[in-house]
């Protein structure tokens, strides 16, 4: 388990522990109002360094299409998949393409000039606007019927512990990046910490009673009543803990294998742990919006588990003519796609607690990237692969647009939630309104 300071722990709880209610009411409290409306969820999954275009985009458009090598793992869910080619990040200004690719991906707006120097171009600071996932979260949290305990959850997988425009895609406002939680144990603590604490406390109650009995002979008779008061309070705590235990979650917290360290080699394990936590958080309705960020823009994962020992970003710079590298990069993206397919599978096999189908029926995952292609650093043809029924888009299709600004796609996400924004990010890129042909 990675170290974390108490300060961080408390920040995550959003409370000072002085006010921390010991027996925090259990997280999912389904109200009648909420049950009456259909739940909608959005997940943004990020993987870095562009793709090998020829192995990524289907050749055909429309509902009859073949998934190329990189997207093969999605075959079982092809009818629920929507592949969007021709969506471009048109945002320019300060920062290199990796920085803008990352920090403008969900914000659709320029970076502030700043003090962080990239591999080329001018130095930059943070994005100058909030990201679409946070926009939607704020919208959902503003209404009682769509409010959840956390609103959104930001998951990371092997994101390095540093804060700069390459590591942050979620923004709660201009200059306000939101850090993903990398450590599945920390995420567990955030979601279910009180449940675990309650179990620990329950396990020591007998010991406390035993201790109280042991010290009794050493206390003056006049003070025995204090000890009795104390014992009574311990019994009260016991009763509260029992009551809390009976108040079951919709689904129990996932069992976690202890002691998985955050290393390059453990990336597949951490990815699965994070996916389990996301699925259980959705089942318990702790949030409706989530992001899942693999490493960072310029990420350097070495995927030895699929036989690739080179680092990812290094490989992505190799020319198209380097067949070996193209093959490795295709493998890397296929592995990411397998993780996506695993998330899809877990959502598909987990029923909505109210019996209205599966979680996948009401969740759309958007798989995306900061670049179209690694070696050219292009922000054109940014990968956007959508899976699931959360946004009511017409799925099972492959579409090709003519260099449309990605701001218009971001707006479409909001519109699907009934949040009819007129522009998003830089308005210059929102000219023709919400991206068409999606529903």
């Amino acid at each position: 388990m990675s170290h974390k300071t108490r300060r961080r722990f408390i920040q995550e709880l959003g409370l000072s522990s002085a006010t921390l209610p010991l027996l925090m009411g259990l997280p999912s409290v389904a109200s009648a109002a909420r049950q009456s409306t259909r739940k909608q969820r959005l997940v943004v999954m990020f993987t870095p360094n562009g793709v090998v275009q020829k192995n990524f985009w289907p050749e055909q458009t429309g509902s009859e299409f073949t998934l190329p090598e990189s997207l093969k793992p999605l075959e079982p869910y092809q009818d629920q998949t929507l592949v969007l080619k021709g969506v471009c990040d048109r945002v320019r200004g300060d920062g290199d393409s990796h920085m803008r690719g990352m920090s403008c991906l969900l914000t659709g707006i320029e970076l502030f000039p700043g003090n962080i120097q990239g591999g080329s171009h001018t130095p930059a600071g943070w994005a100058s606007g909030l990201s679409m996932d946070q926009e939607i979260k704020n919208f959902l949290q503003s209404k009682a019927e769509t409010q959840t305990r956390f609103g959104s959850l930001e998951f990371g997988v092997n994101v390095p512990d540093r804060a700069d425009p390459w590591t942050r895609m979620v923004y709660s406002g201009p200059n306000k990046p939101v850090a993903p939680i990398n450590d599945p144990y920390r995420m567990f603590e955030k979601l279910y910490g009180s449940v675990k604490d309650q179990a620990h406390l329950r396990s020591v109650l007998d010991g406390i009673h035993e201790d109280l009995a042991k010290v009794r002979p050493h206390i003056s008779r006049e003070d025995h009543h204090v000890l009795e008061d104390h014992a009574e309070l311990v019994r009260g705590l016991e009763a509260e803990l029992t009551a809390a235990k009976d108040q079951e979650l919709q689904v129990p917290p996932p069992e976690q294998t202890p002691g998985i360290k955050e290393t390059n080699e453990n990336m597949p394990l951490i990815s699965k742990m994070q996916i389990e936590l996301m699925v259980s958080a959705f089942a318990n309705d702790l949030a409706r919006v989530s992001t899942l960020q693999y490493t960072r823009s310029v990420g350097q994962a070495k995927m030895s588990w699929i036989g690739v020992d080179d680092d990812h970003h290094g490989l992505s710079h190799k020319p198209d003519s380097d067949e070996d590298s193209q093959e490795k990069l295709t493998k890397i993206n296929k592995w990411f796609c397998e993780e996506l397919a695993h998330l899809v599978k877990r959502l598909a096999e987990t029923p909505e607690p109210d019996g209205s189908g599966s979680l996948l029926d009401n969740t759309t995952i958007v798989w995306t990237n900061e670049l179209g292609k690694g070696n050219s650093h292009t922000l054109d043809d940014i990968p956007f692969v959508l899976v699931g029924g959360g946004l009511d888009f017409k799925m099972g299709r492959s579409l090709q647009y003519e260099r449309v600004a990605h701001n218009r796609l971001l707006m479409a996400f909001a519109h699907s939630f009934g949040h009819h924004v007129e522009t998003f990010g830089n308005p210059d890129f929102c000219g023709d309104g919400v991206l068409g042909d999606l529903t």
Partner: protein, 780 residues
């Protein structure tokens, strides 16, 4: 004669509830019969001579002595008053043994607080850590568990070490300057910090060292810069403020709050860099408890390094103050829930930091063993004694043997320990107390904490049971910053500074009296308190008589002192013809004043209660001092006199007013004045002591001299120091203890430190219960 006595009687009635001491101590148990005889005799005398006026149960008789015979005077004082003044019509009728018998009877039957509260007033009740002790104990236990001294002494203050680099990456090869920067308040504009850094486009700076904090509480840190920067405070695990990426623009203000325990130093590091920003600047400010937002002053910064200290953020509910000082006797649901939250906080901290604490690594094969050993040490520190094998198994071993993961084992062990009554109630002791019990008493008496390693080792060797051994350790312990902090806290309570925040003053009348001045005054007062207590003579009287005050340039200007200052604060002979130690310190005078006027009543009540140790009942009716109610042109003194004229008021205000009037030369910000508007100040007063003596004062110096020489005042100081530091009634520590302490205090030249050491010794060695009760805690 009769007339005088009548007057005197009313005085007695009014002042019978006097003196915070609870002098009487139960007679030894062997003398039960003699005791019984004395009681019968006392009752007879009371019925014959007193009951007509005071009622059978001391509740008073309408038309005669109407106030109930309740008070806090000691039995000796009570006897003296009776001998001198009672019965009213024939004071000679009750003297000698009769007076003593009736005094004892009155005291035990209804007069003393103890008689009204049951027997709790004169015994050591089962007590848990107070709110403050709890926080300190948790912090110190965790520091000691990893081999650190709980409170690091910072010797040298005056600024942080500043290291300047000629590149943006803090690259050691590019290190150009190393110097002490007294404060972090720089505007480099479009240039560089120094000619040695030649690149305008990029440079980096690191400031490091430690910060010394005086008060317990939440500190807000404010970092203002347009560049990239990170601030670490109390540990390098994660920055308190991380603003490494900086979008161009005006300087940004970043704020973060952290809980700290006062009287100790914490590590601080601030890294910044400039890269292609147009300008660069850095200001590091804070807002400490009781202080304004300001640039962190050099006097709290040091280039000396120190280590991280665990500071719990869980706060226990406020302690019981029914006896006038905090005691850990309230076992409420709030308290219980807070101790659970505290135990959970410690459990999470230990589990999350186990590798650092137990000096192990995740991949180590013996990690679990090391964690277990660490936990055993932690439990010993928390329970303040070595563990038997059974106890090791009970608190630690069994959790490590199951299938549970290490994380769960650690948490369960910590939860059980910090929820254990043996941790929570330091008064749970062996009978008779053993060396470990004495170590705990001593640590609480001088540090509000748990025993350190030296005490623990002494106890293990059985070297903590003689006066001499206790004295040796006590002396050593006074050197620890925690003792200084505890003494400071006591003096603040003594000066009533803990009761409410000194407020802002009327801006039209005192335009220059801003929050910075107020903070300077508090610092100045603290310096004076420290200087008196920690000087060689440690003379209590100097608190009242000193003619010097610590001033800085800002204060000198307001208080009319013309002088150049070399140091931040300097000791200045300040209006020696008018000033009287801390009594007339501007901070105290300002705290005992309205926002526009002096307040003779607040000042008088303070002197009566805190300095002279006389008790006052709450006013019979609430009266608000409204300036508009008075004729134009009246002085504050005249207004107070008019307002408190009714007989119901005068019973107390005949004591309060003259004491308050003596301080009328000091206005609402504690500045000396000769006139109020166009009338000269009248600070003359006649004070009538509890024995009916009339003492004439003219001004603060007379008053201070009187207090410094007054036996009741000395007794009151002894009581207050005892109660604030030991947190049990002085009467629970044996008959004659109080009188002995007062006598020693006087003989030592009123040496405050000697008195405290004496209190620590007496309280550590005293045996609370007879041998027959209880058994050995260690043997369960």
């Amino acid at each position: 004669m009769l007339r005088f006595m009548r007057q005197e009687n009313s005085k007695i009635r009014d002042t019978l509830w006097v003196v915070t001491c609870l002098g009487f101590v139960l007679a030894s148990l062997g003398d039960a019969r003699a005791e019984e005889d004395l009681k019968v005799r006392g009752l007879q005398v009371y019925k014959n001579l007193c009951a007509d006026c005071h009622g059978d149960d001391g509740k008073g008789v309408a038309g005669a002595s109407e106030s109930p015979l309740h008070g806090t005077r000691s039995i000796e004082d009570l006897t003296r008053v009776i001998v001198q003044t009672m019965p009213e019509d024939d004071p000679d009728a009750c003297v000698g043994e009769e007076a003593e018998a009736v005094s004892r009877y009155i005291y035990n039957a209804f007069y003393s607080p103890a008689s009204r509260l049951g027997t709790s007033a004169n015994r050591v009740q089962l007590s848990h850590f107070t709110k403050q002790q709890y926080a300190i104990a948790l912090s110190d236990i965790l520091s000691m568990s990893r081999g650190n001294a709980p409170a690091n002494k910072i010797w040298k203050k005056g600024g942080l070490k500043g290291i300047y680099y000629n590149d943006r990456r803090h690259n050691n090869k590019e290190k150009k300057i190393e110097r002490i920067d007294p404060v972090i308040d720089f505007d480099f504009q479009e240039g560089t910090p120094s000619e040695e850094l030649e690149k305008k486009e990029e440079f980096a700076i690191r400031w490091q060292g430690s910060i010394w904090v005086e008060e317990d509480g939440d500190y807000e840190f404010i970092m203002v810069t347009e560049n990239g920067a990170r601030l670490w405070l109390n540990g390098e695990q994660s920055p308190l403020i991380d603003e490494w990426t900086a979008s161009h623009g005006p300087p940004r203000e970043n704020r973060a709050t952290i809980r700290l325990i006062g009287g100790r130093g914490y590590p601080l590091r601030l890294d910044m860099f400039k890269f292609k920003d147009k300008r660069s600047s850095m200001v590091l400010k804070w807002k400490p408890p009781h202080g304004p937002e300001e640039v962190i002053p050099a006097s709290v910064l040091s280039d000396q390094g120190t280590y991280e200290i665990f500071v719990p953020t869980t706060t226990l509910p406020a302690d019981d103050r029914v006896f006038g000082y905090e005691r850990g006797i309230s076992v409420s649901k709030d308290w219980h829930a807070a101790t659970t939250a505290g135990a959970l906080e410690v459990a999470a901290y230990v589990a999350n930091n186990i590798d650092r604490l137990a000096k192990t690594r995740e991949q180590d094969e013996d990690r679990a063993d090391k964690a277990r050993k660490y936990c055993e040490k932690l439990v010993e520190l928390a329970l303040r004694r070595p563990l038997s094998d059974d106890e090791k198994q009970f608190y630690v071993g069994r959790f490590f043997e199951g299938e549970e993961h290490l994380d769960a084992a650690i948490k369960r062990c910590v939860l059980l320990t910090f929820k254990s009554p043996r941790f929570l109630y330091p008064t749970i002791e062996n009978n008779p107390p053993d060396d470990f019990d004495r170590a705990t008493r001593l640590a609480l008496a001088l540090w509000n904490s748990v025993p350190d390693r030296a005490l623990f080792e002494a106890a293990e060797k059985g070297q903590l049971n003689t006066l001499e051994q206790i004295a040796t350790h006590s002396k050593r312990m006074l050197e620890d910053p925690r003792a200084h902090k505890k003494m400071r806290d006591f003096l603040h309570v003594w000066l009533q500074l803990n009761e409410k925040e000194v407020g802002a003053k009327n801006e039209e009348l005192f335009p220059e009296f801003d929050p910075l001045v107020l903070a300077d005054l508090r610092r100045s007062l603290n310096m004076q308190l420290d200087e008196v207590v920690w000087s060689d003579s440690s003379d209590f009287r100097q608190l009242l008589l000193a003619e010097e005050v610590f001033l800085n340039a800002r204060l000198a200007k307001i208080y009319g002192v013309e002088r150049e200052f070399e140091a931040e604060f300097e000791k200045v002979r300040f209006e020696p013809e008018h000033r009287a130690g801390v009594l007339t310190h501007p901070y105290l005078m300002a705290s005992l004043a309205f926002h526009d006027l002096s307040s003779p009543i607040h000042r008088g009540v303070f002197v009566t209660r805190r300095l002279l140790g006389r008790n006052l009942n709450p006013p019979p009716q609430a009266t608000e001092f409204k300036d508009g109610d008075f004729q134009h042109g009246m002085t504050t003194r005249e207004k107070v006199a008019v307002m408190t004229e009714p007989a119901a008021c005068m019973s107390c205000h005949n004591v309060i007013n003259p004491l308050g009037f003596s301080l009328e030369h000091f206005d609402a910000i504690g500045r000396y004045r000769d006139h109020e508007a166009d009338k000269p100040i009248d600070a003359s007063a006649i004070y009538v002591s509890e024995f009916g003596e009339e003492i004439k004062f003219n001004g603060a110096k007379d008053l201070a001299r009187f207090i410094s020489e007054n036996k009741t005042a000395h007794g009151s100081f002894v009581d207050q120091l005892f109660h604030e530091t030991i947190k049990h009634p002085i009467d629970a520590f044996g008959e004659g203890t109080r009188e002995n302490l007062i006598e020693k205090f006087e003989k030592s030249g009123y040496n405050i430190r000697e008195l405290w050491l004496e209190i620590a010794k007496v309280s550590t060695l005293h045996r609370h219960s007879p041998e027959s009760e209880g058994s050995d805690v260690a043997q369960n």
